[in-house]
C-alpha cells in the first residue's frame, strides 16, 4: 500500500474508485493478533491468540460475551472492539427487554455493519479499526459472521483474521467440509489446531490462547485455562498431527462464504477489499 494524495480523508474517493482510509482500517485488522471462528450446525467456537506486550503485563481480552446466545472475537484495535462489544450488548439487552426473546444474530450483524458504514461516510469520523468474528445461535442453528471495518459482513463456515491468519485459513479450508456435522469437542479441537498454525512453531499452551463456545443448549462461555490446557495435552501427547484430509479446497479465503447479498470473498491482499 502506497501513500498517495487520496488517502487523507475517508470521504475522498481515489480515481480508481477506492476509499483508502477504509482499506487502511482493514490493514489494522491484519496487524492484530489472530482470531479464528468455526461452526457446526449446532455449535460455534471462537478462539484467539493472546499476545501480551511484555512478560510483565497481562494480555488483552479479545473475546467478549454479548449475550447468552452470542459472542464476539476481535482483531485489530481492541479499544474499538470493546466499544462495539458494548454496543452489541446494549442492543441485545434492549431487544430482549422489548420482545422478551433473544436478538437474532443475523439482525445484530446488520446493525453492526450499518454502524461501521456510517464511519466511512462522515468527514469527522474514522472507520473502526477492528474486525469482528460474531458467533451465535438463532432458530436455524449456529452461525458465524465476519464484520469488516468497511461495513461489509459475510457469513462463514469457518474463518480467521489477524496476523498470520492465512496459515489458519489454509488449515480450515482443508477441514471445513466436515464442520457442519462435527461434534462440539471436535470443533474445539479443530479451533486449537488452527490457532497452532498461526503460532508458526511456537508452543501452543493455554496461556497464549483463549477458546470460547456457544451452542444449542449451551450458553456462550469462555473455557477455563485448565480445561483448554487439558485439551491441548490430549492431542499433543498423543502426537496427533492436524489430520490432513484432502478436500476440494475453495480458492477464496476461509471456506464457505455464503452471504446472500454481499457475495464474493473477504479481503484478498491484492485487490481492493471492497470490490465485490
Amino acid at each position: 500500500m502506497f501513500r498517495n494524495q487520496y488517502d487523507t480523508d475517508v470521504t475522498t474517493w481515489s480515481p480508481a474508485g477506492r476509499l483508502f482510509q477504509v482499506e487502511y482500517a482493514m490493514e489494522a485488522v491484519k496487524q492484530g493478533s489472530a482470531a479464528i471462528g468455526l461452526r457446526s450446525k449446532t455449535h460455534a467456537v471462537l478462539a484467539c491468540v493472546n499476545k501480551a506486550n511484555s512478560e510483565l503485563s497481562s494480555h488483552q481480552r479479545k473475546i467478549f460475551k454479548v449475550d447468552d446466545h452470542i459472542g464476539v472475537a476481535i482483531a485489530g484495535l481492541t479499544a474499538d472492539g470493546r466499544v462495539l462489544s458494548r454496543y452489541m450488548r446494549s442492543e441485545c439487552i434492549n431487544y430482549g427487554y422489548t420482545y422478551e426473546s433473544p436478538l437474532p444474530i443475523g439482525r445484530l450483524v446488520v446493525q453492526l455493519a450499518d454502524k461501521a458504514q456510517v464511519c466511512t461516510q462522515r468527514s469527522w469520523k474514522r472507520p473502526y479499526g477492528v474486525g469482528l468474528l460474531v458467533a451465535g445461535l438463532d432458530e436455524s442453528g449456529a452461525h458465524l459472521y465476519y464484520n469488516c471495518p468497511s461495513g461489509n459482513y459475510f457469513e462463514y463456515q469457518a474463518f480467521a483474521i489477524g496476523s498470520r491468519s492465512q496459515a489458519a485459513k489454509t488449515y480450515l479450508e482443508r477441514k471445513f467440509e466436515n464442520f457442519p456435522d462435527s461434534s462440539r469437542d471436535d470443533l474445539i479441537k479443530d479451533a486449537l489446531f488452527a490457532i497452532r498454525e498461526t503460532l508458526q512453531g511456537e508452543k501452543l499452551t493455554s496461556s497464549v490462547c483463549t477458546v470460547s463456545v456457544v451452542g444449542v443448549g449451551e450458553a456462550f462461555n469462555i473455557l477455563g485455562q485448565k480445561t483448554v490446557q487439558a485439551l491441548i495435552n490430549e492431542f499433543e501427547i498423543s502426537g496427533e498431527e492436524a489430520p490432513a484430509t484432502v478436500s476440494a479446497a475453495e480458492e477464496a479465503a476461509g471456506g464457505d462464504a455464503a452471504a446472500a447479498d454481499q457475495g464474493g470473498a473477504a479481503a484478498e491482499e491484492e485487490a481492493a477489499p471492497m470490490d465485490i
Binding site: R86, R89, S90, I93, G96, Y97
Partner: protein
C-alpha cells in the same frame, strides 16, 4: 360537554401480600399468588416474586403492571452490571439500585410495594423494605401489601427484632432456624388470609441459603 374519564387513574391495585425474613445464613421470601382488581379475582396463580440475581429475590405487591416493568428494568440493569464487572450483583448493591430506580420515577411512581431478600457477601440473610418511591432500610424481617398490617405486629411479637432506635445497634437477623422461619411464614399467611380478602389461594415461598435456592408452595383459603 361533560368531562369524560374525570375519574380515570393510571394505577390499579392488584392486592396481595409479601413477606421476607432474614436468618443467620438463610433468607425466606414469600408472597401469595392471588391477583385481584376491585372485589374480583383475576387469577389465583400469579407469582409476585422475581429473581433479580443469584442472591437477590424481590417480592412486590401493588399494581402488577408497574411491578412487571420494574422487574424488567432491574433485570436489564443487572445484565449490564454482569457484562461490566464479570460477576453477579450483591444483594446490598441491588438494594441501592432498586431504591435509585424507584426514586427516578419520583413524580410518576411505580405503584409497587417491594421487599428485597437475599444473602449478603458474608452469606448472612438480608432483607430490605421499600416504599413506592425508594425509601429503604435493611431490616430483619418485613411485610408489604394488603395483609402487611395484619402480619407485621405478629412478626414483631415472634421475632423480637430490636428496634432500630435502641442503642447499641443490634444485628437485625433472627436467631430462628430455617425450618422454623418457613413455618412462621406459613402461619403468617394463613392468618392474614382469614381476614384480608385480597390475600389467599396459595403462598409461594423461596428459601435462599448457602446450598442454593428452594421453592415451596402452600395452599391457602380460596375465599
Amino acid at each position: 360537554m361533560p368531562k369524560e374519564h374525570a375519574n380515570w387513574s393510571p394505577y390499579d391495585n392488584n392486592g396481595g401480600t409479601c413477606v421476607a425474613i432474614a436468618g443467620a445464613d438463610y433468607c425466606v421470601i414469600a408472597a401469595d399468588t392471588r391477583m385481584s382488581t376491585g372485589y374480583s379475582i383475576l387469577t389465583r396463580d400469579y407469582s409476585k416474586i422475581c429473581k433479580l440475581a443469584d442472591k437477590s429475590y424481590m417480592a412486590s405487591s401493588g399494581f402488577q403492571a408497574d411491578v412487571k416493568a420494574l422487574q424488567k428494568v432491574l433485570s436489564s440493569r443487572h445484565l449490564i452490571y454482569q457484562h461490566q464487572h464479570n460477576k453477579q450483583m450483591s444483594c446490598p448493591a441491588m438494594a441501592q439500585l432498586l431504591s435509585n430506580t424507584l426514586y427516578y420515577k419520583r413524580f410518576f411512581p411505580y405503584y409497587a410495594f417491594n421487599v428485597l431478600g437475599g444473602l449478603d457477601s458474608e452469606g448472612k440473610g438480608c432483607v430490605f423494605t421499600y416504599d413506592a418511591v425508594g425509601s429503604y432500610e435493611r431490616v430483619g424481617y418485613s411485610a408489604q401489601g394488603s395483609g402487611a398490617t395484619l402480619i407485621t405486629p405478629f412478626l414483631d411479637n415472634q421475632l423480637k427484632s430490636p428496634s432500630p432506635l435502641l442503642l447499641p445497634a443490634k444485628d437485625a437477623v433472627t436467631p430462628l432456624s430455617e425450618a422454623e422461619a418457613v413455618d412462621l411464614v406459613k402461619t403468617c399467611f394463613s392468618s392474614a388470609t382469614e381476614r384480608d380478602i385480597y390475600t389467599g389461594d396459595s403462598v409461594e415461598i423461596i428459601i435462599l441459603n448457602a446450598n442454593g435456592v428452594r421453592r415451596e408452595t402452600e395452599q391457602l383459603r380460596k375465599d
